[in-house]
Amino acid sequence: MRTLPLKYLALLGYLVFLAFPLVWLASTALKTPREMASLHPTWIPRHPTLANFGEAFHEQNLTQSAGNSLLVALTAAVLTVLLALPAAYALVRFSSVLNKLALGWVLVSQVFPFVLVIIPLFLILKQLDLVNTRGGLILVYLTFNLPFALWMLQGYVRGVPRELEEAASVDGAGRLRILRTVVAPLLAPGVVATFLFAFISSWNEFMFALVLLKDPDLATLPLTLVRFKGADGVARLGPLAAAALLATVPSLALFAVIQRRLTTGLLAGAVKG
């Protein structure tokens, strides 16, 4: 009991550590250029202004970029989970010599520097008329998300005791019913975690979007944010902070909505020893 306050203190410290970049971003977004150049920076802007938000929205089509990012990231994440989940289940439950090889190959594919494939990939997509399309970008994100998603999910599937499925089978449940009523709830945290991973990876991705999307109307948020940066690392900090702050909101909101799922499913899968 005596250690409880210390635990809360440690948690508070950790929270502050995690929140620091976001708070500083918010603070910068509300400052004037003059205040940003002050020798004594303050947490709370002395003369708060929304001018940076206005400038960011006026110059760049942030709403459209956010819409593009949301569409691409959501589609890529959903497709990643839809494809990775059955593949992971099959790999774990129907084991054979090939499975280990397959998993090893999946892992090896992750160590490939993506820069080596970017130009060949561009040429392939060009032949398929998928350059400068959201579909092409989604396909690329799906391809690059799948190996790690598969690796993540097979770990979760492995964690679901086979005995549960066998017990359900003994009780007369068919394969599909077992999957739907026994396996799926237990895999929910894994599915949510994998979805979040795929979504955030796609939401933040920059390089593929840069080389594949030519039309400004298709630009995703990372492409738009970088436009506030100039040569030699100089940036327009105010509008950049304002735009970056807005860009983090959808990710945070999504995480807030589904993060409970990360833990609730875990509690549902207990097996008495």
Binding site: P33, R34, M36, A37, S38, L39, E55, E59, Q60, V115, L116, I118, I119, P120, F122, L123, K126, V131, F206, M207, L210, V211, K214, D215, P216, V226, R227, F228, K229, G230, A231, D232, G233, V234, R236, P239
Partner: protein
């Protein structure tokens, strides 16, 4: 302003893909051009968009689509676009970057496309910054950056030093003396030298004393560090460690980092490119009185320079139309508008006489006048310069300016290690 990132090594490996041949692009129907612009300042973006809209209004058959890129990753973006045969029709970039693209035959030699009015409006010194590969012209140079100082006028006046003018600039000796006068031990330094990326700055300024650092003989380029090349190096070092008129704490800083302390009166001057005036205007506290110090004079006021450029891809389908648009965008009046937006100096002689660029407001007269002393940076045409800069010169100069090695040791590293690097690039 150089960008060499992760894709730098890829083109060679994938050269087999190749690029298509040149095409003059005579088109019968309406044409749409993609213009990749790297404008990023608020005023500059607005100016570019306005000029594009003006062009489109006058030329319904040649529509220009404005595409905004970023200095941070334009090299990577273009490499992929060139390899895929899908490059923008008009490309905004800078001379060090297009030097590589020209060598790889990605860009069109514009010699025969250039209208004579545009050609004659820009000085030969500026054309030299975009002339590569057998004398071909691979871009139209339009904005350049000279090195000046921004100074706290109040501190200069209090110290009773002469404020230099375009016609009567400070010599390096006078500047050093002024910095000593402006230094108040424990309270104020004459100057802050942010030197986290010292190489281009030192090399550009060394031309004040004729220091070129590179020489080519028999087709082979080597590094040399003689008396001329040592001048700027040792003068900055002396300010830091002998005179103590420059704050050693700023050596690890980037360009704009000393600004808060400059505004607070800790530093009387900060060396910077001309664009820096904008940062001062935006960030200065109310009533802060500043002045632009013209380029210092050694044996001359020459400084090395690169240029922002507009180029046309070698496989562009509408090269003539692209050239027409470039000629419009970079005519005297429009170039002055672009220079104002970016706070840089124009290469156009006509633009340099534009009243907006000769006004004393924000010291535009001083900035614009500095263009006449800009000459092509000697390193611009050195194969292997990027590697010499990142692997040899930057760490060695940082050690020197941090007083960890002597000038002789620095010179030795720059020459012996540097020549080993350059050897690999000799053809």
């Amino acid at each position: 302003m150089q960008r060499r990132t992760l894709l730098a090594a890829v083109p060679a490996a994938l050269a087999a893909v190749g690029t298509a041949g040149c095409s003059s692009g005579d088109s019968d129907g309406p044409v749409t051009l993609r213009f990749l612009s790297l404008a990023w300042q608020k005023d500059s973006i607005a100016a570019n968009k306005k000029l594009v809209a003006a062009w489109n209004a006058k030329h319904p058959d040649i529509t220009v689509k404005y595409v905004q890129g970023s200095w941070d990753n334009v090299h990577d973006q273009l490499v992929t676009a060139f390899e895929g045969g899908d490059a923008p029709d008009v490309i905004h970039d800078e001379s060090p970057d297009i030097a590589g693209f020209a060598a790889q035959n990605y860009l069109q030699d514009m010699t025969d496309l250039l209208p004579s009015a545009l050609k004659s409006d820009i000085s030969q010194q500026s054309w030299d910054t975009v002339t590569f590969a057998g004398g071909g012209i691979y871009g139209v140079p339009f904005l350049q950056e000279s090195q000046i100082f921004v100074a706290n006028r109040k501190l200069l006046t209090q110290a009773k030093v002469r404020i230099p003018t375009v016609d009567a600039p400070w010599s390096w000796d006078e500047y050093a003396e002024v910095c000593r006068k402006l230094t108040v031990k424990g309270k104020q330094y004459g100057v802050a030298w942010p030197l986290s990326a010292p190489v281009n700055k030192v090399l550009n300024l060394s031309l004040n004393f004729g220091g070129t650092f590179f020489g080519t003989s028999g087709g082979k380029t080597t590094v040399h560090v003689g008396d001329n090349e040592r001048q700027v190096l040792q003068r900055i070092h002396a300010q830091l460690w002998t005179d103590h008129s420059a704050d050693p704490a700023t050596v690890g800083m980037k360009g704009a980092d000393p600004l808060p302390a400059y505004f607070a009166g800790k530093y009387a001057m900060v060396p910077a490119g001309v664009y820096f005036r904008q940062q001062v205007v935006q960030g200065a506290p109310k009533g802060f009185d500043w002045v632009t110090i013209p380029p210092l004079k050694g044996t001359s006021q020459h400084q090395g320079a690169t240029s922002q450029t507009l180029s046309i891809p070698a496989d562009g389908e509408h090269q003539k139309e692209a050239m027409q648009f470039i000629a419009f965008l970079l005519n005297g009046t429009n170039q002055a508008t672009l220079a104002l937006g970016d706070w840089l100096v124009p290469t156009s002689r006509k633009a340099a006489t534009d009243p907006r660029l000769t006004t004393t407001k924000d010291d535009w007269n001083v900035a614009t006048a500095s263009q006449k002393d800009l000459v092509v940076a000697p390193y611009l045409k050195v194969d292997g310069f990027d590697e010499w800069k990142t692997k040899v010169a930057t760490p060695a100069m940082q050690q020197y300016f941090n007083n960890k090695i002597s000038l002789d040791a620095l010179a030795d590293k720059l020459v012996s290690d540097g020549n080993d690097v350059l050897k690999r690039y000799q053809k």
